[in-house]
C-alpha cells in the first residue's frame, strides 16, 4: 500500500502548498484525486515520485510510505525502481524521438523485458501499432496521451500515477482513455488518478479524495462523492459538458502564464 501521511510541502522555502495531506492507495484500486486549479494535486504526485527537487520544492513534514517503509527521501530513479511511476501532466512525450524510442526510454529501469513489454503496449494501445518509427510529436493528442501512458507502463510499475490524462481531449477520446485506465488496472496496476474531469474519474474509481488549497476536504468512496451535493455543484456542474470546458479554458490560460513567467 502506498500511504501519504500529514504531508507538508513548501516551494522555494516559503510557499506552503500542501498542508498536512493524508491519502491511501490500496493495492488493486483506482483512486481518484480531485481538486481545482492550484489545489496541489500535481505537487502531491511530485512529493511521491521524488520530483519536488527540480521544482525547488521540499517535504517539510509528514511521510510517504510504501508497504510501511518511508520512501520520501528517495530520488526519482529509486522511486521508479520501487514500482511507482508518474505520467506527468500535459503528456510530455519526447516529441523529437520516435514512438519506439519513447517506449525504450520508458524501459530505462527495466531493459531486460523491453521487447516483450513493447509488444504488450502495442496490444493495449493498438492505434500506436504501425507508428513505431513515427516521430512522436506528430501523433494526435489522444495518441500522445496513450504513448505517455504506455511509456510509463514499460517499467511494469505497481502504481501508476496519472496527472490529468483527459486534459484537452475530445469527449470520445476521454472515454477511450478512461477504458484504457480500467484495462491497465485490471491487468494488475494500481492507479492514482488526478483529474479535473470528476465525472470521468469517479465513474471508474473505488475511492476519491478532494483537495482544496493544500488540504484534503473530502475522503469517501467514489459513489458517495458522486452523490454529494457540493461535488455535484463544483465539479460535475449543471450541464457537465459546458462547465468542464470553461474550466479547461481557465486552466489553459493559467498554465501559459505560469510557464512564461
Amino acid at each position: 500500500m502506498l500511504a501519504v501521511r500529514n504531508l507538508e510541502v513548501v516551494y522555494n522555502d516559503v510557499i506552503l502548498v500542501l498542508r498536512g495531506v493524508s491519502l491511501d492507495v490500496a493495492d488493486g484500486q483506482i483512486v481518484a484525486l480531485l481538486g481545482a486549479n492550484g489545489a496541489g494535486k500535481t505537487t502531491l504526485l511530485r512529493a511521491i515520485t521524488g520530483l519536488l527537487d527540480i521544482h525547488d520544492g521540499e517535504i517539510t513534514k509528514g511521510s510517504v510510505t510504501l508497504d510501511g517503509e518511508p520512501i520520501h527521501q528517495h530520488g526519482p530513479t529509486k522511486i521508479v525502481n520501487l514500482g511507482i511511476k508518474q505520467v506527468l501532466e500535459g503528456r510530455r512525450i519526447f516529441s523529437e524521438l520516435t514512438v519506439d524510442e519513447n517506449l525504450r526510454v520508458g524501459a530505462h529501469t527495466n531493459p531486460r523485458n523491453a521487447r516483450q513489454n513493447i509488444d504488450r503496449i502495442y496490444d493495449l494501445f493498438p492505434s500506436l501499432r504501425g507508428r513505431e518509427r513515427a516521430t512522436a510529436g506528430y501523433l494526435s493528442g489522444g495518441e500522445q496521451q496513450m504513448l505517455a501512458m504506455g511509456r510509463a507502463m514499460m517499467s511494469e510499475p505497481r502504481y501508476l500515477l496519472l496527472d490529468e490524462p483527459s486534459l484537452g481531449l475530445a469527449p470520445l477520446l476521454v472515454q477511450q482513455i478512461r477504458d484504457l485506465i480500467v484495462e491497465i488496472n485490471k491487468q494488475g496496476t494500481t492507479v492514482l488518478l488526478v483529474e479535473q474531469n470528476a465525472t470521468m474519474a469517479l465513474s471508474i474509481a473505488e475511492h476519491g479524495y478532494v483537495l482544496e488549497t493544500g488540504k484534503v476536504v473530502m475522503d469517501s468512496p467514489a459513489e458517495e462523492l458522486l452523490a454529494d451535493s457540493d461535488i455535484r455543484e463544483f465539479y460535475l456542474g449543471l450541464g457537465a459538458e459546458g462547465t468542464t470546458k470553461s474550466f479547461r479554458d481557465v486552466k489553459h490560460y493559467k498554465r501559459r502564464k505560469r510557464w512564461l513567467s
Binding site: 526519482p76 521508479v80 511511476k85 510530455r92 512525450i93 519526447f94 523529437e96 526510454v105 520508458g106
Partner: protein, 295 residues
C-alpha cells in the same frame, strides 16, 4: 584544379578535428545547458598525456589510455566543480568553466615546459598522391578517425539505453527523471564523452608541430563551428567544424592571390566572418531551431 582539391582535402581533414571539438561542446550543452569552456584544457591534457605515454606504451595504446584518462578527468571536474553549481545562472557556470580551463592549463603547462613535446604519431607530414592530388597522411587519418568516432557516437545515441537516456534528458529533463533516468549519470557521461573526444582532437592538433603551451587556442575554433551549426545540433557541429576547416584552408591557399590587401593571416579570422554571415541569415545556426514553445 589539383591545388583546389588538395586545399579542400586539407580543410576537411582539419575540419574534422574541429568537428570533434565542437561535438564535445554540443553534447555537454544539450545535456546540461552549460557551455564548457574547459574543452581547450582537456584537449591539451589529452595531448600531453599521450606525449608522456607514447614512449613506454606505443602510440595507439597511449592514445587509448589518454582518452580514457581525459574522459575520467572531465567526469571528475563535472562531479567536483560543476555539479555543486547546478541551479546557478548559466552565465556563472560558464565563467566557472573558464576558471577550470585556466587552472587546468596551468597545471598541464608544468608538464610541457618550454620544449615542444611530441605525440609520436605515425602520420607525419609526408604526403600521398592520388591522381596528381597530394594529401598529407595526417589529414586522411583525421578524417577517417572522425568518421569512425562520429559513426559510433550516432549508433550510441540511436540504439543504446544510455544514449537514448541522454537524448531524452536533453529534450525534457523532468520527464526523463520521471522515467527513472539518472540525470547525474547523464551529466557525467556527457562530460566524459566530450573529454575523450577532446583528447583525440588534441593528438591530431599536436601531430602537426608538436605540443607547446599555445596549441589550446586551436580548440577555440570549435566556437565558430558550433555557432555556424547551431548549439543544439550534433549534425550542425560536424558541418560547422568542417566548414571552419575548409574556409580556413581555402582562404589560406587563395587569399594572397585574390585579396592580398586583407593581410597575411586572414585565414585565422575567416571562420569568424563566416560565422557572422550565418548569424545574419540564420540566427540559430544552420541546424538550430528556435526553441519550440510547449503549451
Amino acid at each position: 584544379m589539383t591545388e583546389l582539391i588538395s586545399s579542400l582535402l586539407r580543410g576537411v581533414g582539419t575540419g574534422s578535428v574541429y568537428a570533434l571539438l565542437a561535438l564535445g561542446f554540443v553534447i555537454i550543452y544539450k545535456s546540461t545547458r552549460v557551455i564548457n569552456f574547459a574543452q581547450p584544457a582537456l584537449m591539451l591534457a589529452g595531448a600531453v598525456l599521450v606525449s608522456y605515454l607514447v614512449g613506454p606504451l606505443g602510440f595507439f595504446v597511449a592514445v587509448a589510455v589518454a582518452v580514457a584518462a581525459t574522459a575520467m578527468l572531465a567526469l571528475g571536474l563535472e562531479r567536483s566543480v560543476v555539479r555543486p553549481m547546478i541551479g546557478k545562472p548559466v552565465f556563472i557556470i560558464a565563467i566557472i568553466t573558464i576558471g577550470i580551463d585556466i587552472a587546468l592549463r596551468n597545471v598541464v603547462n608544468g608538464f610541457i615546459g618550454t620544449d615542444v613535446r611530441q605525440v609520436g604519431s605515425p602520420w607525419g607530414l609526408q604526403s600521398v598522391r592520388f591522381a596528381g592530388v597530394s594529401v598529407q597522411e595526417r589529414h586522411i587519418a583525421m578524417l577517417l578517425t572522425a568518421l569512425v568516432i562520429i559513426t559510433v557516437l550516432f549508433l550510441f545515441f540511436k540504439y543504446s539505453r544510455l544514449g537514448l537516456a541522454m537524448r531524452a534528458t536533453a529534450f525534457d529533463q523532468e520527464t526523463a527523471l520521471s522515467q527513472g533516468v539518472s540525470v547525474s549519470t547523464v551529466f557525467a557521461l556527457s562530460w566524459a564523452i566530450a573529454g575523450g573526444m577532446a583528447a583525440v582532437a588534441g593528438v591530431f592538433v599536436a601531430s602537426n608541430a608538436g605540443i607547446d603551451q599555445q596549441i589550446w587556442i586551436v580548440a577555440l575554433k570549435a566556437l565558430p563551428a558550433i555557432i555556424i551549426g547551431g548549439l543544439e545540433s550534433l549534425e550542425g557541429a560536424i558541418v560547422g567544424g568542417i566548414t571552419v576547416g575548409v574556409v580556413e584552408s581555402l582562404v589560406a591557399t587563395y587569399q594572397s592571390d585574390f585579396a592580398p590587401w586583407l593581410g597575411s593571416n586572414f585565414s585565422v579570422v575567416s571562420p569568424y566572418v563566416v560565422m557572422l554571415i550565418v548569424l545574419m541569415v540564420r540566427p540559430y545556426g544552420l541546424f538550430g531551431t528556435k526553441e519550440v514553445q510547449r503549451v
